[in-house]
């Protein structure tokens, strides 16, 4: 065991990124329900210890008032702060969409560039653990459709660290989506100065037969399938978008130009999901080179079901990815 490189959990990586950002820039402040240590440092403990270190002036537990939380972040961002607002679970952004969409995303533009809104909204979600219809939705497609917002999702602790830091330091509003079911999975620890730039995809696994374009939790699932198919001689390249919007078209198109086949994979509902945009872009640019139409994997057309068997049947899966790959590779 002592040989193993240091590992950290996803949730911890987020904590460390916020800690570093707060240390580096005293304009970084945190707002959210139960986030201060007196309240336990967040329901998933992602902000644990930060109020002890930086004080409750900078790490503020709030009322259950998501509009007021995001609004306070928008307002302070307008005058030089770098607020990080936590929306406990992604479904709760539904009560704050006005502040996010009509204000955070638009104020730079509508002011003709006189002001900017360098805020980060952290939120977590994810199905597969029986939280049911109102606590598990992946809604990144909405936000990706809003000009002026960046949307980010990490697939492993080191990236989470590097991406969250970059999100906080970015001068645009960023939605940083965490994944509750994988909060406590481990991965190699990043170096303290590890930074992952926004807008740049990574290729955690190279391959030649098909590109699996994915992000967040889809990356682990895609890896697993790639591993399995490797034994049959099918070589999958995994592209981890990391920034969902605006996404790194260059890396995606380069990968698919090489493999000539692609499957886009995400946990969100497939219909009208982000996979549609990525698939369309690939078709638009590489149509004549493709071996087959781009495949898509996502979850089913239904609210997230509570009961495990239905939830499993509804949810995107490694089987779905495998089936889609086999379909397009013929």
């Amino acid at each position: 065991m002592s040989e193993k490189p240091a590992e950290i959990m996803f949730a911890q990586a987020c904590n460390m990124a916020m800690n570093k950002a707060m240390a580096d820039d005293d304009k970084v402040i945190l707002l959210g329900e139960d986030i201060a240590d007196e309240q336990g440092g967040g329901v998933f403990k992602v902000t644990a210890g930060l109020s002890a270190q930086y004080g409750t002036d900078r790490v503020r537990s709030t009322p259950i008032s998501e509009q007021a939380i995001v609004g306070a972040a928008v307002g302070s961002a307008l005058v030089g702060y770098r607020p990080v607002a936590e929306i406990m679970l992604m479904n709760f952004i539904t009560v704050a969409m006005d502040q996010i969409v009509n204000h955070a995303a638009k104020l730079r533009f509508m002011s003709g560039g006189q002001t900017s809104v360098p805020l980060t909204i952290r939120t977590t979600t994810g199905a597969g653990t029986g939280l049911g219809g109102q606590h598990s939705d992946m809604l990144e497609a909405w936000l990706a459709h809003v000009p002026g917002l960046k949307v980010v999702a990490a697939s492993n602790p080191a990236d989470a660290y590097g991406l969250l830091y970059s999100s906080i330091m970015d001068d645009n509003p960023v939605i940083f989506i965490e994944n509750t079911p994988t909060y406590f999975t481990k991965g190699p620890a990043p170096a303290p100065d590890h930074v992952v730039p926004l807008g740049k995809a990574s290729i955690p696994r190279e391959g030649t037969d098909v590109s699996l374009i994915t992000y967040g939790r889809g990356v682990g699932a895609s890896h697993a399938v790639a591993e399995k198919l490797a034994s049959e001689g099918i070589s999958c390249e995994v592209v981890d978008l990391r920034t969902i919007a605006p996404f790194d078209e260059e890396t995606v198109l380069k990968s698919v130009a090489k493999t000539k086949a692609a499957v886009v994979v995400h946990e969100a509902v497939k219909n009208f999901g982000t996979g549609a945009e990525i698939s369309s872009r690939i078709h638009e640019e590489l149509f004549s080179e493709l071996k087959a139409p781009v495949g898509r994997v996502g979850s089913g057309y239904a609210p997230v079901p509570f009961s495990p068997a239905i939830e499993k049947a509804w949810m995107f899966s490694e089987d779905d990815i495998e089936r889609e790959i086999r379909k397009i590779l013929g």
């Binding site: 329900e33 139960d34 007196e38 309240q39 336990g40 329901v43 537990s61 709030t62 009322p63 259950i64 008032s65 998501e66 509009q67 479904n91 709760f92 539904t94 009560v95 029986g130 939280l131 049911g132 219809g133 109102q134 606590h135 089913g300 057309y301 239904a302 609210p303 079901p305 509570f306 009961s307 495990p308 068997a309 239905i310 939830e311 499993k312 049947a313 509804w314």
Partner: protein, 322 residues
């Protein structure tokens, strides 16, 4: 003091809630059930007394912490337990789960997991009753923390201007998740907010069956007479944290001690005894509840899960293609 029959009724409901809560926590602790559970121990009397003041046809809208409200309103234990366990025989075929109980036969129309969101929906039920002139009232339960969210404000105001037959029952257990009300709420009381919005508002000791029942009864009569909504701020406490596993680390020891001393259940039981209801009679109620729960729990464990492709049904009015 409410009369004997009423108190027995309230006790019967409250004891079923208490025993159910204990059993759920035990089964989850033992790994027999794997669910996120929001304990209701400590808040039994609030909902038992409230639901004793309404009829089965009256509507209820409640929240994730809703077991007490749902049982008090009359959902059969078997159906409810089976839903908590995610079984096809559950109230919602296992699709909703504990946070999303619906059971129209007993008037339980919505259980929401989004803080405050039941309030505007309760108005819609009230509006329907007003238009139908069906004489029904809608009870809408939520917590102290929920009074900080916009939907609370919009909903109470709309109910007031339209004089909707809705009773907003704020179960004030002092905490929203891990945060004390004093850190989140600019007003001293929730009642004050109701006053500010212009509706009839009262604040009562929700743990006192008679006081709670009287307030409930009055609000129900007021609503049925067409006078409009009431906000009842019912003071209570939750003994087992926000959700099972929460250690209540954020609750000062003395506060918890005092709350436990004020446990409404032994007090209500003693009140029955004081009214010359015999220990035997009380024990019979308790035994009957215990049997109901045993049966429900076993039923929930034994019942089959729904098939996977149930997810294509009930999304729209027609089945979705695979």
């Amino acid at each position: 003091m409410a009369d004997k029959d009423v108190l027995i009724d309230i006790f019967t409901r409250a004891d079923l809630i208490m025993q159910s809560d204990i059993k759920f926590r035990k089964m989850i602790g033992a790994g027999q059930l794997q669910i996120v559970y929001y304990p209701v121990r400590g808040q039994e009397v609030v909902s038992a007394a409230m639901m004793a003041a309404v009829n089965q046809e009256d509507y209820l809208v409640t929240i994730y912490r809703g077991l007490h409200d749902q049982l008090a309103k009359g959902i059969p234990s078997k159906d409810l337990w089976a839903e908590f366990a995610g079984k096809m025989a559950g109230t919602c075929k296992g699709k909703g789960g504990p946070m999303h109980i619906t059971h129209p036969e007993t008037g339980v129309m919505v259980t929401t997991g989004i803080v405050g969101s039941g309030i505007p929906i309760a108005n819609g039920l009230g509006l329907a009753s007003q238009l139908e002139k069906d004489g029904k009232v809608t009870v809408c339960c939520f917590g102290d923390g929920a009074s900080n969210i916009g939907a609370f404000h919009e909903g109470l105001n709309m109910a007031q201007i339209w004089k909707l037959p809705v009773i907003f029952l704020c179960q004030n257990n002092h905490y929203g998740e891990h945060t004390h009300m004093r850190d989140t709420t600019g007003s001293e009381t929730i009642k004050q907010r109701g006053d500010g919005l212009g509706l009839r508002s009262v604040r009562v000791n929700g743990n006192d069956a008679s006081e709670m029942y009287a307030a409930a009864k009055e609000a129900v009569e007021y609503a049925r007479a067409g006078n409009g909504p009431t906000l009842i701020e019912a003071m209570t406490f939750r003994f087992h944290g926000h959700l099972l596993g929460d250690t209540s680390h954020y609750i000062p020891e003395e506060e918890m001690e005092q709350a436990l001393k004020d446990d409404p259940m032994p007090i209500l039981r003693q009140q029955l005894l004081d009214m010359q209801i015999s220990e035997t009679d009380i024990a019979a109620i308790e035994a009957k509840n215990a049997a109901t729960i045993e049966e429900a729990a076993q039923f929930a464990l034994d019942a089959p899960y729904p098939p996977g492709d149930e997810y294509r049904i009930d999304v729209l009015d027609v089945e979705i293609a695979a």
